[in-house]
Symmetry: C2
């Protein structure tokens, strides 16, 4: 009997442990970074003593105003993992960070965050949110970090806070981005849209109007080509695990600032000549796990390229000038990562001089050929 009870009790719990595998966010660590950000303004030099026993005034228990299931410290309200089905009421009005990750919240209502005008970071990861009231984020002029990953949203919420710097929607159900969806988010640097059912046709012309982001993440979407309409300011673009089948010159012409491009796990058969010359600042390209039959043209002219992943393709020959310029010293940065394993190329057919512009202790990975 006792055993049966135990099993009954443990089943849902153990299922949860092995369940939805979401990427936790360490809000304490972010809070430490927040402290970095305000370090200049925020330090009152009120103690010059070196006896470290006087710091006890750091401890606060806001128990009276702290909602059940939460732990409140002066800057951070932690309410993660409590099975909450809605945003708790009476959140302290001076909160800078609120951690609500891993609960069962289904909806964000108009007044859920009312009065939290100082809020800097809001973490709603891994809930079941499908509805956000259009005025839910009103007056949140200090909000910089809004993490909505692992929820059930089908579109980009309206009227996002104007000063957002990071906006994350990984693993939702977004299949359409309307024109001007992010308009007014002039400070946005990081836009994460990975693991949504977004096809190229799902992004309206002008969807990214007004943005000058540095990073866009669109892995695990339904893209068949590199999106041509992303902000031209991006330095990093993640397009892993899509269905892209070729790269054309037109695709990259806009992204002159790009430093890191990942196209791993697509179905790319060829890269049009001249495409890579459009991204002269590139430092790292991931083209592994595609269907390339040769090394893409133009690598040797990319002065800053250090990493090129080409493993798990169908490359059957490698030319002596595929990676390095003819004249020694022309390339400015040495490679430190070239991967060619799991290709049908025979390594004894690769001329050793092929890797003459690879750094001393750094690496080329050949071998482990796929049958």
């Amino acid at each position: 009997m006792r055993l049966l009870l135990l099993i009954a009790l443990l089943l849902p719990l153990t299922a949860a442990v092995g369940g939805k595998n979401y990427q936790r966010v360490d809000v304490m660590e972010i809070a430490r970074n927040y402290d970095i950000m305000v370090a200049d303004q925020d330090y009152d030099d009120d103690s010059d003593d070196d006896d470290n026993d006087s710091d006890d005034n750091n401890v606060h228990h806001y128990d009276d105003s702290c909602p059940p299931g939460c732990h409140c410290t002066p800057r951070v309200v932690q309410c993660s993992d409590q099975g909450l089905i809605g945003v708790p009421g009476k959140l302290p009005s001076d909160s800078l960070m609120i951690d609500l990750q891993n609960n069962d919240i289904t909806e964000i209502k108009e007044d859920d965050f009312k009065g939290l005008e100082k809020l800097y970071g809001l973490f709603l990861i891994n809930n079941r949110i499908s509805k956000i009231h259009p005025r839910a984020f009103k007056n949140m002029n200090n909000l910089r970090l809004l993490y909505l990953s692992y929820n059930a949203l089908t579109q980009i919420p309206a009227d996002l806070p104007p000063n957002l710097v990071e906006l994350r929607f990984h693993e939702n159900r977004i299949n359409r981005i309307q024109r001007d969806a992010f308009k007014g988010l002039r400070k946005l640097h990081v836009l994460e849209l990975g693991a949504n059912p977004l096809a190229n046709s799902g992004m309206e012309l002008g969807a990214f109007n007004g943005l000058s982001t540095l990073y866009v993440g669109m892995s695990e979407n339904k893209l068949t080509a590199v999106p041509k309409d992303l902000p031209s300011s991006i330095t990093e673009l993640n397009l892993e695990y899509n269905k892209i089948f070729k790269i054309e010159v037109e695709d990259l012409i806009r992204y002159k600032n790009l430093q890191r491009l990942s196209l791993s796990f697509n179905q790319i058969r060829f890269v049009e000549n001249g495409s890579l010359a459009k991204i002269p600042n590139i430092r790292e390209i991931h083209l592994d796990n595609n269907a390339l039959k040769k090394v893409p043209a133009g690598l040797s002219s990319l002065r800053y390229l250090q990493v090129i992943f080409l493993h798990a393709n169908k490359i059957s020959s490698v030319g002596i000038n595929d990676f390095c310029p003819l004249r020694f010293g022309e390339k400015k940065n040495l490679y430190n990562g070239i991967s060619l394993f799991a290709n049908p190329v025979k390594y004894w057919d690769v001329h050793p001089g092929t890797f003459r512009c690879v750094g001393g202790r750094r690496g080329v990975q050949l071998g482990n050929f796929r049958k």
Copy 2:
């Protein structure tokens, strides 16, 4: 012949790939965070247009003033992975971040960073640095992040920049910290000392004088007890992979702000009654992979405790009140992670009510008993 040449060429390269496994730092990502930090001050609202084609002025090639082996953008100088044996000369004087990780630098000389007074982050990870000139960091009043992990330092460098927020020495050869080693670092939040040959006796009394850090990392050292003299301000303490064999009340009395404590992979046989009551704000305790024979006393009184790892110990019985308070509703936060697997306790002897204060979808891990 060609094959031999190739093997000769590849041997040192592949050795490097499989070699020293250091944790890379993504300086581009940190630079994005830096942009967050200066977001308020730094934005000139000079463009109100929505056509994203006018951002091309973001691209800069400081080629003339950029040292060989580096890639210079207005804020960030990237010189990683280039086999450099010294800090390059002529680093742009307006640099905010300099990435020199994964090179062969052995020494930091007096004038290596001269004139870099705006510098915010300096990344010297994975070099062979054993010597730093005492005046090398002079006038670096803006330096916040100094990463010196994976080098060959034997002591804490003298005269560290006064406004550091993060200071990292993971995997060096530091075996002694002298009194006042960090004196004056009033803003330091993160101090990483993991993987150094530091014993408790290696830290002089007053070694941490003047600090009010939030995080101290001392995993993989040679500690036999919890250090009693760390800053009382810490919210997180990592002591994994040491040789600590017991926890006494005195050990934790100082750390009232502690929210996360990791003691995994030590040799702890017992936790003295009353020890855990000294850390009332604790949210997460890792005591897995030790030699505990029972569940430590006092867990049920820790209102905010959500995670307690006890797996891989020698616990042979679990009491019904080991985790949860007698009166339901007394504990404020529910558990979401209790691990008990790989202990000799028989799961049918554990009363189901033992886990009455565990969150709904959250977890208890029993089972997988070690023989």
